[in-house]
């Protein structure tokens, strides 16, 4: 390994490294073992957190992993990528005492990592139902759904368009949270129960029609599409890319990619912050440009703090007007912006803004990352008979069944883009819905 790649590895080292046994003992011993604990309620996958922590304390690490996996088979990645400070750890009663909450995410990764590293598995394929289910999308929702369906005795094939399964865990989250090796190990561990994953398999509308005949049910866990374009001049210039695509490439090439010297990130959501920090780690001078105020940004506070630690600068109340480039080379040379002012602050929503007259200015840069959200895969879904969409999101009932009874859905394609843990919970519950449907227990089934 060259010196250069070594330093790249160090820069992207885990920000939440695996706990040592003594760290795990110290932190697990602090847990109060609350009754009807707030942390469980704050977990979208409802893991019995006090119980798994107590099991770590009693050195029953295996039992701890089982407690986690019973609710969340992707408990390892969730422990590492979840925004725990706004979920379980945010609900920890220690906050009421102004004390540090229990480090739940790292304890969860500790126990589940132990089970995965030692290949200790707790589930096996259920008694065969003779039913076949196609899972479209090998991300967290699809994997959780496929695992639960297999436990329930159904034959499952997961279809994944990318070269590797894992979805966000493989192509979306920052590598200092969860890297390719972590993702591969987790997927191998989960799929050993006995379902197939067909990668580099792009499910088209035509393929879906075929699936409808071959499979008894279909789960849509297709996630989101490409990064949105804003519709301003210069978006096609060399050096302009979407945040999702940028992170996809970074993860795919294991951080061995080049960034510009001066990078502008448009948008201030969590993906924008990830792209900004990653660019900074790769050596760029990074500025996040956001049209509204600091209070309006949707990225979590701890992500913003993390970005600031990595020298990412923020320019608020600034709207991009046009990306400018060199006429001949068609390379980006800068971005023309205008200053905004707040017209009306809205406590419950985002503030209203309007441009400040004659405040246009241009920032020089050689790379622009657009992080203003991802498109929904509306066209693909529209081709499915009777599938109702709401604002591009698939509409489902409490069993995660769509308006086309054979189709179930979960994850980003129904919620518009949430956390990995939400997708896992959806996939798990959808599998239970599909099981009911296949056994004729659903009204519409």
């Amino acid at each position: 390994m060259s010196k250069m790649s070594n330093s790249t590895v160090d820069k992207f080292a885990k920000i939440k490294p695996r706990m040592t046994p003594s760290e795990a003992l110290v932190d697990s011993s602090r847990c109060l073992f609350c009754y009807d604990a707030p942390c469980i309620k704050a977990c979208p996958s409802s893991i019995d957190i006090p119980m798994f922590i107590r099991q770590i304390m009693s050195k029953n690490t295996k039992g701890s992993a089982k407690t986690i996996f019973k609710q969340n088979i992707l408990g390892k990645s969730c422990g590492e990528v979840c925004p725990t400070s706004v979920l379980c750890e945010g609900a920890c009663v220690y906050h009421e005492l102004n004390e540090k909450p229990i480090d739940i995410g790292r304890l969860q990764a500790y126990a589940t990592g132990f089970a995965i590293d030692n290949d200790i598995r707790f589930f096996e394929k259920g008694k065969s139902s003779g039913k076949k289910v196609a899972v479209v999308g090998g991300g967290p929702a699809g994997l959780a759904c496929a695992h639960e369906l297999t436990v329930l005795g159904h034959d499952v094939v997961v279809y994944e368009a990318n070269e590797k399964a894992g979805g966000l865990n493989t192509y979306g989250v920052a590598p200092y949270k969860f890297n390719n090796e972590d993702s591969k190990k987790e997927i191998d561990y989960i799929s050993k129960i006995g379902f197939n994953i067909k990668t580099s398999f792009c499910v088209t509308s035509e393929k879906l029609s075929k699936f409808e005949k071959e499979y008894d049910a279909i789960f849509l866990g297709a996630g989101l599409g490409k990064s949105k374009k804003i519709g301003m001049l210069g978006e096609d210039l060399n050096g302009v890319c979407g945040a999702a695509e940028f992170i996809h490439e970074l993860r795919d090439k294991e951080q061995k990619i080049k960034v510009g010297e001066i990078v502008i990130v448009i948008g201030a959501g969590n993906t924008a912050i990830d792209a900004a920090v990653e660019s900074s780690l790769l050596g760029a001078n990074v500025t996040v440009v956001y049209r509204r105020s600091e209070a309006d940004q949707s990225a979590y506070d701890f992500e913003i703090e993390h970005a600031k630690k990595h020298d990412v600068k923020f320019m608020y109340l600034t709207s991009p007007l046009e990306i400018v480039g060199d006429e001949h080379s068609e390379n980006v040379t800068g971005i023309k912006c205008v200053k905004n002012k707040i017209v009306k602050s809205n406590k419950n929503g985002k503030s209203s803004i309007e441009p400040v007259k004659n405040s246009e200015f241009t920032i020089s840069c050689d790379m622009v990352i657009l992080a203003t959200g991802q498109e929904k895969m509306e066209d693909f879904f529209k081709a499915i008979t009777g599938l109702k969409l709401d604002n591009g999101k698939i509409v489902v009932n409490k069993h995660f069944q769509t308006t086309n009874t054979k189709y179930f859905a979960g994850g980003d394609c129904i919620n518009g883009g949430k956390e990995v843990v939400n997708a896992v919970a959806n996939g798990r519950d959808a599998a239970r819905g599909i099981d009911k449907y296949l056994r004729g227990e659903l009204k519409n089934g």
Binding site: S29, C34, Y35, D36, P38, Y94, E96, L97
Partner: protein, 423 residues
């Protein structure tokens, strides 16, 4: 500033904090370091006939992340020669003439006791402590707790010592008895000048679940050992109070067992001790802890406008009563401060599953509610609550007169005579 100097049964020391006879008092090197750190006295590691120690000697019990909540040992008395010990004790006494140096001893024959007493007095020790306590190794040879458990033997051997000793004699008692006052009174009859307690409690500290061997293991085997450390303090406090409250017992008491902080030592003083001895805490943290013991007790005395340890002695012991002397009409009930509650609901589940089902959950709230009509005032909720003074036990004015068991309607032997309590 209070005066921490003590005169314990004639043994003078700059403060009441002594090192108990144990590994920390094995050598002059250690004892001199201890005196430099501020300890007021030291009871030298027990002198006796030659012994050999095993390798692997201590075992500990942890509670969650707290190491050494209790410690046990299968180590015997000093394994160094009497000559070496006496030479080092002499050095200590010469360098620290104002500190209390007490020789702990354990022998079988009268002549051995007499010989050692004389040699110790020759080098200037301030007193003796008779080790009638070790529950392991020595008792099988008719020494240690074998003596402490038999009041007659205890009295006899004590009298052997007191007939020749010119310095004060402390008898160290074993807690491995059903009634601690019996050996204490026997020591008094034998002419002892004071008692110290407790020695260690007979115990097996635990089992290694990997090997299924007992701890501490000596090549796969172990033996019962002596238990000490923070976990034993409640047992010792009870025994100290029983002796202190016995109408026929009049000697000073040196308290031992689980003393780590100044608060621990104050509890012993309040129960009737006028010196305390420390071992496990020093084995855990070193001699330096004495600074806080001294400062803490000084502050406490000042705060209570007291001049010396003697002012504290026995205040709480007098508040120990027989169960039937407690007022059955006294009532407290739990009260939760909603502003302090962190909504862990541990009080709820403790009361619900472990006590009297007198706390209920409130819809749309995480703050539990006390059922005042059924709360028996057991304290459990306030004990499990992780927040300081969030749950308090509040006295209820029942308007009833004091009622003791002797006069209680449910007592089959009920009497109408008024019970008079000693002040």
């Amino acid at each position: 500033m209070a005066d921490l100097n003590i005169d314990f049964a004639g043994i003078k020391a700059p403060n009441p904090f002594w090192l108990a006879s144990a590994p920390p008092t094995n050598t002059s090197y250690q004892v001199m370091n201890a005196f430099r750190s501020g300890w007021g006295g030291a009871v030298w590691k027990t002198l006796g006939q030659p012994i050999v120690n095993v390798s692997s000697r201590y075992g500990a019990i942890a509670y969650k992340n707290n190491k050494m909540m209790g410690l046990n040992n299968i180590e015997l008395i000093t394994d160094r020669s009497l000559e070496v010990n006496l030479k080092e004790m002499k050095e200590v006494k010469e360098k620290f003439p104002k500190h209390a140096l007490i020789a702990s001893m354990m022998f079988e024959k009268k002549e051995e006791w007499h010989d050692c007493i004389k040699r110790c007095e020759d080098i200037g020790v301030d007193g003796f402590e008779l080790n009638y306590g070790c529950p392991h190794g020595m008792c099988e040879r008719g020494m240690g707790s074998a003596v402490g458990q038999n009041p007659e033997v205890c009295e006899r051997i004590t009298s052997w010592v007191t007939e020749v000793a010119t310095k004060p004699v402390i008898v160290k008692l074993t807690p491995n008895v059903t009634d601690i006052t019996k050996p204490a009174l026997a020591a008094q009859r034998g002419g002892a000048n004071a008692v110290s307690l407790i020695n260690t409690i007979n115990s097996v500290i635990g089992i290694n679940l990997e090997t299924m061997e007992p701890n501490p293991t000596v090549d796969g085997f172990s033996t019962h050992g002596g238990y000490c450390g923070p976990a034993v303090k409640p047992i010792s406090l009870n025994m100290v109070s029983e002796i202190a409250n016995h109408p026929d017992f009049h000697l000073p008491i040196s308290g031992i067992g689980g003393i780590e902080t100044w608060q621990d030592s104050v509890e012993y003083f309040l129960m009737g001790a006028t010196s305390v001895q420390v071992c496990t805490a020093v084995m855990h943290y070193g001699f330096r802890i004495v600074t806080d013991l001294i400062e803490g007790v000084n502050e406490y005395l000042d705060k209570n406008k007291m001049k010396s340890i003697n002012d504290l002695c026995g205040i709480t012991a007098k508040k120990m009563r027989k169960w039937e002397e407690l007022d059955l009409n006294y009532k407290v009930i739990a009260q939760i401060d909603p502003n302090k509650c962190i909504s862990c609901q541990l009080c709820y589940i403790a009361c619900e599953d472990g006590a009297h089902q007198s706390i209920e959950l409130v819809k749309d709230s995480r703050i539990p509610k006390i059922k005042e009509d059924t709360c028996v005032g057991c304290n459990l909720c306030s004990l499990v609550c992780p927040v300081e003074s969030c749950i308090t036990m509040v006295k209820v004015n029942t308007g009833k007169e004091k009622l003791f068991w002797a006069n209680h309607p449910k007592n089959p032997d009920k009497t109408n005579e008024k019970i008079s309590l000693k002040k």
